[in-house]
């Protein structure tokens, strides 16, 4: 399996997915060599039958574009050449290792790893499964033609494609993949990690100051909808001033959002926490009275499942992959700020609603384990192998 990141070196859903998926596949008896760029940090295998092989050094974080200009300035062409370098080294490493370790199949994730996997699988004559966690359209408002080109090629050439939601499936079809080749396998959540009871200490209680807490957690980019979140905050505060809005995450929109909270006159009630490590995240989920995910485009949205695991009522945008499976959630259109504000106020006001949502969210999240994701992925592997064998005959 070819990946790009693995905890603790991580900036998005892809890393969580690879980590959890390999762990769960390993429990199903699958042996995996996981290839990734040299991270410079200590990355440990979570399971004896997973080997982690770091192949090329890079410190580029492709999911953290700040703007088209800074994207170019910070790494621009550098990114592409770094990715190309990774592809080349990764491909060679896979072919090299295949001499000793008999691989059955190559699994790649997103455009970042596709080319390496495509070449390696061609040389080793084995099937290629490609997972799409997002496409260039979901990540940025300024899609790169080069990246789109790689994605189109992956959509066309992979033996089978895994999409993390039906939404993603449609997006991949737009890239040119035939419907018959795509299997939808939803992400999961490590329920036990987020559900563990956390009592609020003095510091947390002081932070809330007796107010209700509304949480946003995600990259601060247009696709994640932080702007809508602030507009909704303004409306909520005009009806109920005893609320604070917490924004966790970093990204290109941070300066704009700070200015916006000042010009809307709500900066007193908005807190920007920046990047927060997982242990702190768990606490913040526990402090939250409602979690809002107002994404305009969200292939899946694992954070919604994390919030649900923590027993937080969630309001999610209808245009998210997770909305396809989560029943214990309120779903709104990302552009319907009035309704978003209305629903936030309702969850804060009606105690039986918050209690029912909390209970059901936890129960539901506990059923979205990664085991299911791994089982479905294994089915896709088997299908790809049998198709490949047929073709050889």
């Amino acid at each position: 399996m070819l990946g790009w990141e693995f905890p603790p070196f991580m900036s998005g859903g892809l890393g969580v997915h690879c980590f959890e998926l390999t762990r769960a596949l390993c429990r199903l008896g699958v042996r995996i060599d996981f290839y990734m760029p040299v991270s410079g940090q200590k990355v440990e295998s979570s399971c004896p039958s997973i080997r982690i092989i770091e192949v090329a050094k890079t410190e580029l974080r492709p999911y953290l574009f700040f703007s088209k200009a800074s994207q170019k300035a910070s790494y621009g062409e550098n990114l592409i050449s770094a990715v190309r370098e990774y592809w080349k080294k990764c491909e060679e490493a896979v072919v090299e290792c295949a001499r000793e370790e008999k691989y059955d199949l190559v699994h790649t994730h997103d455009w970042l790893t596709y080319k390496a996997g495509a070449e390696a699988s061609r040389r080793l004559r084995m099937p290629l499964v490609q997972t799409f966690h997002s496409t260039e359209f979901d990540r940025t408002s300024w899609p790169w033609d080069y990246i789109l080109g790689v994605e189109r090629e992956a959509a066309e050439k992979a033996d089978l494609i895994i999409a993390v939601s039906n939404r993603m499936k449609e997006q991949v079809m737009r890239l040119g993949a035939p419907k018959e080749k795509i299997r939808v396998v939803y992400n999961g959540v490590d329920y036990a990690r987020f559900s563990c009871p956390q009592t609020l200490g003095k510091a947390e209680q002081n932070f809330k100051g007796g107010k209700k807490l509304v949480l946003f957690l995600g990259r601060l980019t247009e696709q994640k909808g932080p702007v809508q979140f602030l507009h909704a905050a303004k409306k909520v505060l005009s009806a109920n001033p005893d609320v604070i809005f917490v924004i966790v995450g970093k990204g290109e929109l941070l300066p704009l959002l700070i200015n916006m909270s000042i010009s809307l006159g709500i900066s007193q009630n908005v807190r920007f926490l920046g990047f927060v490590p997982e242990e702190e995240q768990k606490k913040i989920y526990k402090m939250a009275d409602v979690f809002v995910m107002p994404s305009t485009s969200e292939p899946f949205g694992i954070t919604a499942l994390e919030a649900m695991s923590s027993g937080v009522p969630v309001i999610i945008s209808k245009t998210s992959g997770v909305a396809e499976i989560a029943k214990a959630a309120i779903k709104v259109d990302f552009w319907d700020i009035d309704k978003m504000a209305d629903r936030i106020l309702a969850v804060l006001k009606y105690q039986p609603l918050a209690a029912t949502m909390s209970k059901l969210a936890e129960r539901e999240a506990s059923s979205f384990g990664w085991e299911k994701t791994a089982e479905k992925t294994l089915e896709v592997y088997k299908e790809a192998l049998s198709k490949h064998a047929e073709r050889k005959l």
């Binding site: 214990a328 106020l345 039986p352 609603l353």
Partner: protein
């Protein structure tokens, strides 16, 4: 053996979207989405009520032995008069044949039988009788909202002069006994319970167009044969009238099934169509049933959990009930009427959060995105209504 065919006819009073921050100086008419209610009534009139009523009239004319029974809720009659008067005319024609019986129930299709104070329940039954008597002769048989039934409900019905009452033929009530006999009810003098044969009723109501069903397709001949093979005094086939043309569309052949049913049944000499009143007069009670806890015909549980299963449902229902005293004190006709309209059981049905297969049935009927949205909207309106009650005291 008596064959009793009974149809429940009802359309909910769907609520308008009501914001939590809305000013409460508006008319209470704005609580209800009359445009949506009109649209649905007009649609169902064309697909179901008109073609089904015309077919019934035809069948009654052609088959002198055919009989049928209905219960029309008061809110259905009101909406019918406003949005589809032709439907009411055909019901009046059916009543004129003397072979269609119109049973008693609560005017507002309410859960008022579960109120602590039973006066409201009784008032709504009286209101309903008055509405029915405008076009049909009053019945001696009572059927409560969604077939809700208990010893106490039967006792109240008996006190109001009813000789029979409809209920669900549940296995745990009957034990080894058959639903195909009449029973007296524990704690009552002589009122007789007619019990629904749920399997045969659901064969038409739910399974008629189910291709996975081993008996698919169901013909009138086969169904009549099943009826003829039963032992007992009566078979009670109860279902929603919307079975015809709405739950099962015309192209499933449901109308053809109905068209042939009377003649196929009458091929079996020992079977005869009867109305509930006739059965209560002619057939003896063969035993006694004891139902301390309220049963109904809804969901897998067949109890009140479809309406009062979770905290949102229980607390909003309690709030609604608690307003009763003040509502009556105002002596304001509009206030009393709106309070009763808000008792419509459907409002609570939409808030149901059961998982399993039943949730899909609830969703199918619900105008809301989720049970949470249903609760929020209902509470927004109920809170506004409570303020109006205070103002008019």
């Amino acid at each position: 053996m008596h064959i009793c065919i009974y149809f429940q006819v009802h359309q909910p009073l769907r609520l308008a979207n009501f914001s939590i921050t809305k000013d409460y100086d508006e008319d209470m008419e704005s609580y209800f989405d009359s445009q949506l209610n009109r649209r649905i009534m007009e649609k169902v009139a064309q697909k179901c009520y008109l073609p089904a009523n015309r077919l019934m009239l035809e069948l009654l004319e052609k088959n002198p032995g055919f009989k049928v029974s209905y219960s029309l809720t008061g809110v259905f009659i009101e909406q019918c008069k406003m949005f589809a008067p032709e439907v009411m005319q055909t019901f009046a024609e059916l009543a004129k044949t003397g072979r269609a019986e119109f049973l008693s129930e609560t005017y507002y299709h309410s859960l008022s039988c579960l109120f602590e104070d039973k006066e409201e329940f009784i008032s709504q039954i009286e209101l309903h009788s008055k509405a029915i008597s405008e076009f049909a002769s009053p019945s001696k048989v009572f059927r409560n909202t969604e077939a809700m039934f208990s010893n106490e409900i039967a006792y109240l019905a008996e006190r109001l002069g009813y000789k029979g009452i409809l209920a669900e033929g549940l296995d745990h009530i009957l034990g080894w006994r058959s639903p195909n006999y009449l029973y007296t009810v524990s704690g009552c003098e002589s009122i007789k319970a007619l019990l629904r044969h749920y399997r045969l009723s659901d064969d038409v109501g739910y399974r008629f167009s189910a291709k996975w069903w081993s008996e698919y397709p169901l013909t009138a001949e086969k169904y009549a044969r099943w009826l003829s093979e039963l032992q007992g005094d009566c078979v009670n086939i109860f279902m929603d009238y919307e079975t015809f043309g709405e739950h099962h569309w015309e192209d499933t052949g449901i109308f053809e099934f109905l068209r042939h049913l009377p003649q196929e049944v009458q091929k079996h000499r020992h079977l005869a169509f009867s109305t509930p009143s006739e059965i209560v007069d002619k057939a003896p009670a063969r035993g006694e049933i004891d139902v301390p806890h309220t049963t109904s015909w809804a969901d897998m549980e067949r109890d009140t959990s479809a309406w009062l299963g979770n905290d949102m449902q229980k607390s909003s229902f309690a709030f609604l009930e608690s307003l009763g005293k003040k509502v009556k004190q105002t002596g304001d006709k509009d206030i009393i009427r709106v309070w009763r309209m808000l008792q419509n059981s459907d409002h609570f049905y939409y808030m149901c959060t059961k998982s399993l297969s039943d949730q899909d049935v609830h969703n199918y009927f619900s105008p809301y995105d989720s049970p949470f949205d249903a609760y929020i909207n209902y509470m927004n309106i109920l809170q506004d209504f409570a303020k109006k009650v205070e103002q008019r005291l």
